[in-house]
Each structure stands twice: as structure tokens, then as C-alpha cells.
Amino acid sequence: MLRKYLKYGIIVFISSIFGFFTSSYEYFKFVSEINLVDFANLVITSLIGLFIAVTIQKHQANERIEKDLLISEISQIKNDLKTIYTTVLNENIDFSDTVFTFKISSSNLSNLEDLFKICQINDCKNNISSLLNKVNQLKRIVTNSPVQNNKFIITDDDKNLFFVEYKKLTELFLELIVKINRK
């Protein structure tokens, strides 16, 4: 709080010194008259400036909301897939849950393409295709394995392959989030 007031104090102090020196400068002459044309000019220019500032701010706020929406959707899919990663890590891959999570994640990724279109972001199509391919690849590694007691039994080779591909998937997610954020 004190720092904030100190900052304002410094600004007022510097402005006062600046004002004192500029008013003492011989080329500045203050006339106690108001020119109506100049005054109208000043008001209109200020209003135009204000209008531009408000419009830009509103536009930026809208863009931010859209970006946040896209990023939250992507994060949700990323988190859903993380649950599969955990089950593979713990070698406790429930058949129904895994198949359902892959379905929902892939379906949401496909829907994301439409959301990008609505937000008029057209250059992320390749990113989503890469993500869909990678999710499909992970799905094949896990759900092509044999099943015992309603659980997928995954080999060590497949498990290692899954981890390698999952890391690539995470990178693709982050790449897309950064791309959206920098727009």
C-alpha cells in the first residue's frame, strides 16, 4: 500500500518539476482565452481516442475469452488421457473405463475442430489431426492387448511404447496451447 502511494508521490513530484521548467521556458506563452474551434477539436479527438481504446480493449477481451475456452477444452481432454496413463503405469487397465475414455477423448478432439472454426482459428487443423492420430495410436497399443478379468494385459514392450508415444502426445497438446495463446 505504502509503495503504491510512494509511486504516485514520485510521479507528482517529477511532473511538478517538469511543469515548473516548461512553464519557465521562454517559448511557452499562456493566453487566458479559449478558442472554440481548438476546444471542439480537443474534445472530438479525445472522444475518438477513447472510442478506439474501448473498442480495442473489448476486442482483446473477447479474444481472450475464446482462447481460454479452447485451452480449457484441450486441458480437459489432456486430463482424461492422463487417467489412462496412470492406469498403464499401475498396470491396472480396466477394459470398460479405458475404452470409454478413449472414445470420449477422440470424440471431444473431433468436436474441437468445429470449435476452432467457430472461433475463426483455421491454422490449427493440422495440430488437431496430429493429436487425433496420436490418441488413436495410443488406443491401438492399449486396446489391442488381450483381456483378462475385464482388464487389458499389456506387455512390457507395449508399455514402453505407450510411454514414448504419450510423451509425444503431451508435447503436441502443449504445442497447441502455446499456439493458441500466441495468437
Binding site: K139, N144, V147
Partner: protein, 107 residues
Amino acid sequence: MEKTLKISKDFSPTPGARYRTDGKFSGQEFYETVLKRCFEEILKLKYKLKIILDGTHGYATSFLDEAFGTLAKDFGVDVVKNNVVFISEEEPYLVNEINEYITNAHS
């Protein structure tokens, strides 16, 4: 003319894994009890078979590979491709995935 086969309704909303030994509603069971019979029927009638994939809990790769790969092995890749149409609104990428299993069954 075409005959429609909706997996969630005509077989199960929770398709299983590859073989009967893996558990209930396997790809093998689907092929032997539903798909093969349906496909033979449409070939006789010179209909097309429309397979609707939506409405299930999701598909394991092993289920799709077993069911449609076996169909292609038994009847031929081209016969299957020319007579079956896959529909999926929920998971549009599944159509390409299944076509891949059908094509690979040939080699």
C-alpha cells in the same frame, strides 16, 4: 436398397475385446452371430449393409480388427468395401480405422 445394422441395438451397447475367451460381446462373437449372417443376407438380396457405430460405450481396437478383419478375410476386401457403409457421428475417425483393418486383412 440397404439393410441397417446398429451395433448398440443389434448386438450390444458395450462391445468387448477380440475373442470369446476375452469375455462377453467379443469381436469374434459379433462376427459369428450377427455380422456374417447379415452380410450373407445382403449379398443374396444385392443390398448394401449400413453399419451404425454410434451409441456404444466405445470400441476396443481388437474388437474392430477381429470382426471386420475376419469379414474381409472370409469374403474378400473388395466385396466388403463395395457392400458395406460405416456411419459414425460420434467418432468419425472410426470409419477410416475400420477401413484400414479391412485393407490389412488382405495382406
